[in-house]
């Protein structure tokens, strides 16, 4: 090492120097035995295996490649400003850069690192350079501000562990003057609008009102380029507005957000449409992988320059989404954001839960889900407006007087509030992570339930001041307990259903899964019915006239919600029994697995539920007991599917204004119908099943409830 370089590295003190030990090391190496190492007491060979090997391309992200640094790349002409002195080419290249950045942004949203995607753009890495180029400068300012806003909402949501490359910035600078970016953008948009007006006036041979320099040199292409750029700038402007509106607390910006979403969508569609006409302007053979509308490679991008900023080790090479995939991604994102913005802020907890579950069916991506979570939970309140205890009181239909008692301050009630907040957060996560967490929180809910029970018992034993006061308190706690149990079964039911969506069950396990769904749903309906009838009784008491006969019938009558769930229960029971019967009569061929017995598989699938005591700890015995005598002839006499059909039909009229529930009921009817037919066929066929017919279970009519299909083999 030259003396000059050695001087750069300061020693540890005044008396210290860098001593060349290469000859000494060589001598030591000669003195070592084969396989012998020089190491300290704390040395661990296994740990040493995790050392990064220098000059290995897979492990050494600092290996010096084409350019030593971003600045050297710039000096080498990798990101020229202006891009070309021919203004037409400059505009073409600018559009390509804008398109590629959109594709990079979509790729980033999908879970890759910022450094490899959006910040592979050299222009973005040195923003001060672009000030002389209005288009690039305005576009890059708004992209930085947009990325910052997206990172902020995803970080707040804190459910992004699964997509964990997303928020790590590793020193990339996103700070800028966000407020200015919109005014810069507006100014540029204004200029190009005037250029567009001028060129249209010229082509219509109208008088040009103002003397304005055109965007570029070729008059034939001027209108096309102006429109292409305007659409892209407007999309960015409206998208930024969407993010800002959704950021406003307590959901104040939702309506305005919807308007901006609509504008975004129309600009994206315009971009797509215009690009069809654009390819004539110098586009090459268009491959589907292209990241720009024109098909050209954009100027000024180099992902390797940022390799050291992505992670300690070199990042895996990624594929940037194609331009059309990026547009599709943003269209879906905007649709999801629109649905979120349409969420009513007056919703009760049950409505919110239903809304989230429905929303998740379209499999929204991380950015949309993070926005939903932020809308629902702000400052520990629902929509940032209503305190959690108030939300729970309404959901559990607790009497108004609950405010007069100190129930809100009880430790277990505070815990319950936290559980509800956590539940909402979990429900906004992706389905795999969601299911795992739902299984885990069951224990927490159980513990809180037990604590509430203990509190109730201690109140019962307390010598009280006012006997009526104590009674009210006890009744409130009892109602809370019922509600907590109902929620526990709701969570368990969602946990089981998600298993179908994630394809976690094999066909031979459907029987036990449907049995579990049946048992959990029965409990859920029981608690739900209990809660509804209590609240109805409370309403009745408020009325002045009491007609005894009418009250009695009202108590027995089941609410539409209960009946809706009852149709599901009948279907689950029907499937359980059918699968059990087919198994008992050896009509389903199951290859016996040498690894796990039925009981072991039962426990593996339902371990978390069993641990939380849902429904009780000996469930396998119950399952075995209720299914071992199932037979087809028995089922011929009592057909659960027909019950399901009947109830579904009956309850349809109550949901005439709810298209989602109506379509769900229709699906239930279809599954019930098809299974009923299959069942009667199987009863008639008997042993002939093995030879000529093949039986399978498909999810053709409903995502969770299978339909038995009999085919000629």
């Amino acid at each position: 090492m030259a003396a000059a370089e050695a001087s750069i590295f300061s020693g540890s003190g005044d008396n210290s120097v860098w001593t060349d030990v290469s000859p000494l090391l060589q001598a030591a190496c000669n003195g070592l035995q084969d396989g012998e190492l020089i190491h300290g007491d704390n040395f661990n060979l296994y740990a040493a295996m995790s050392a990064l090997e220098i000059m290995d391309p897979k492990m050494d992200s600092g290996m010096i490649g084409r350019y030593y640094s971003v600045d050297e790349a710039i000096d080498g002409g990798a990101a020229p400003i202006p891009i070309s002195f021919d203004r037409t080419v400059d505009v073409q290249c600018t559009i390509d850069i804008m398109d590629h950045l959109l594709a990079c942004e979509a790729t980033w949203h999908k879970g890759h690192s910022l450094a490899q995607t959006v910040f592979s753009c050299i222009y973005l890495l040195r923003p001060e350079r672009t000030t002389s180029h209005a288009l690039l400068h305005s576009y890059s300012s708004v992209i930085r501000a947009t990325c910052k806003a997206v990172i902020s909402v995803v970080s707040d949501a804190r459910t992004h562990e699964e997509e964990d490359l997303f928020t790590m910035m590793y020193g990339l600078n996103l700070n800028g003057e966000d407020e200015k970016c919109l005014s810069i953008l507006n100014a540029v948009e204004e200029t190009i609008s005037r250029q567009l007006r001028a060129c249209r006036a010229l082509s219509a041979r109208r008088k040009v009102l103002e003397d304005i320099e055109p965007l570029q040199n070729n008059p034939m292409l001027e209108e096309g380029y102006c429109r292409a750029i305007l659409a892209r700038l407007r999309f960015r402007k409206h998208f930024y507005h969407v993010l800002m509106c959704l950021k406003r607390p307590q959901g104040r910006g939702l309506q305005l957000a919807r308007k901006h979403v609509a504008s975004c969508i129309s600009e994206l569609k315009a971009i797509r449409e215009l690009s069809g006409q654009h390819t004539a302007c110098g586009g090459q053979t268009i491959s589907e992988d292209r990241t720009t509308a024109s098909g050209r490679q954009p100027v000024g991008f180099d992902a390797s320059l940022n390799a050291r900023l992505s992670a300690p080790t070199p990042p895996r090479s990624i594929k940037i989404l194609s331009w059309s995939e990026a547009i599709e991604y943003f269209l879906k994102l905007l649709q999801d954001l629109d649905i979120i913005s349409s969420c009513s802020l007056e919703n009760s907890l049950d409505c919110v839960l239903h809304f989230v579950v429905q929303f998740q069916k379209s499999q929204p991506d991380l950015v949309a889900r993070a926005h939903l979570q932020r809308l629902l939970l702000q400052d520990g309140k629902l929509f940032g407006r209503e305190a959690i205890f108030s939300v729970i009181s309404k959901a559990a239909t607790l009497p108004e007087v609950v405010k007069n008692h100190d129930i809100e301050k009880m430790e277990c009630v505070i815990q319950l509030g936290q559980l509800v907040i956590n539940l909402l957060r979990i429900l906004c996560a992706n389905s795999a992570w969601q299911r795992r967490k739902l299984g885990k929180i069951l224990q927490d809910w159980r513990v809180t339930y037990i604590q509430l029970e203990l509190a109730l018992r201690s109140k019962f034993g307390e010598p009280s001041g006012t006997p009526s006061g104590e009674n009210i308190c006890m009744n409130i706690l009892k109602q809370l307990l019922v509600w907590v149990e109902e929620k526990v079964y709701w969570i368990a039911s969602r946990f089981l259903m998600l298993g179908f969506e994630l394809e976690l069950y094999s066909t031979s396990e459907y029987g036990m899964v449907y049995w579990y769904i049946y048992v959990v749903s029965v409990k859920l309906v029981e608690k739900l019915h209990h809660r509804i009838s209590i609240s109805n009784r409370v309403k009745c008491r408020g009325k002045k006239k009491r007609v005894p006969g009418k009250d009695a019938t009202r108590d027995i009558q089941f609410s539409p919600t209960v009946l809706f769930l009852q149709s599901h229960i009948c279907l689950a029971e029907g499937l359980t029994m059918m699968l059990a019967a087919l198994r008992n009569e050896k009509m389903i061929l199951e290859s016996p697995t040498p690894f796990n017995s039925d009981q072991e598989r039962f426990f593996q699938h339902f371990e978390l539920l069993q641990k939380a005591g849902i429904p009780d700890h000996n469930s396998y015995q119950s399952f075995e007991g209720s299914t071992k005598n199932a037979s087809l002839s028995m089922l011929a006499m009592y057909n659960h599917f027909k019950d399901a059909q009947r109830i579904a039909k009956e309850v349809k009229s109550s949901f005439s204004d709810d298209p989602e529930r109506l379509s769900e009921l229709r699906r239930i009817e279809q599954v019930a119908e098809h299974n009923s037919v299959a069942l009667s066929l199987l009863c008639r066929v008997g042993d002939a099943l093995d030879s000529s017919l093949k039986l399978s279970f498909e999810f053709s009519h409903h995502p969770h409830f299978a339909t038995a299909v009999v085919r000629r083999s």
Binding site: V17, T19, L24, L25, H39, I54, G62, R308
Partner: protein
Amino acid sequence: MEQGAESASPGIDAGKADAVSRVRGLLFRRMLVGIKDGRFFLGNFHCLDKQGNIILQDTVEYRSTRRSSPSPMEQRCLGLILIPASCRTSCHVDTSIEERLSLLSLQDHHDQTS
């Protein structure tokens, strides 16, 4: 140069054993390793093997930002790294002046006896 199964002179063996124990004494000291592409790695000397591969702990990587020198240096933390002997161009240890003298004298001694 042909040698029998045993080394020719006990002096050399002593010299070699001495080198090994000397290097053992350098363990956990700050070591600066230069490699072929111009980068430097500063870390705590953790391990050496017979082939001359070095493991450093709590390493910081230094690199120039320009091909031409002088240029400003960038640095970043890497943790535990392994530097293969084949890419190493230099190796220095942070020592006091007295220690350097004794290390140099040892090397001279070794050179004389080999």
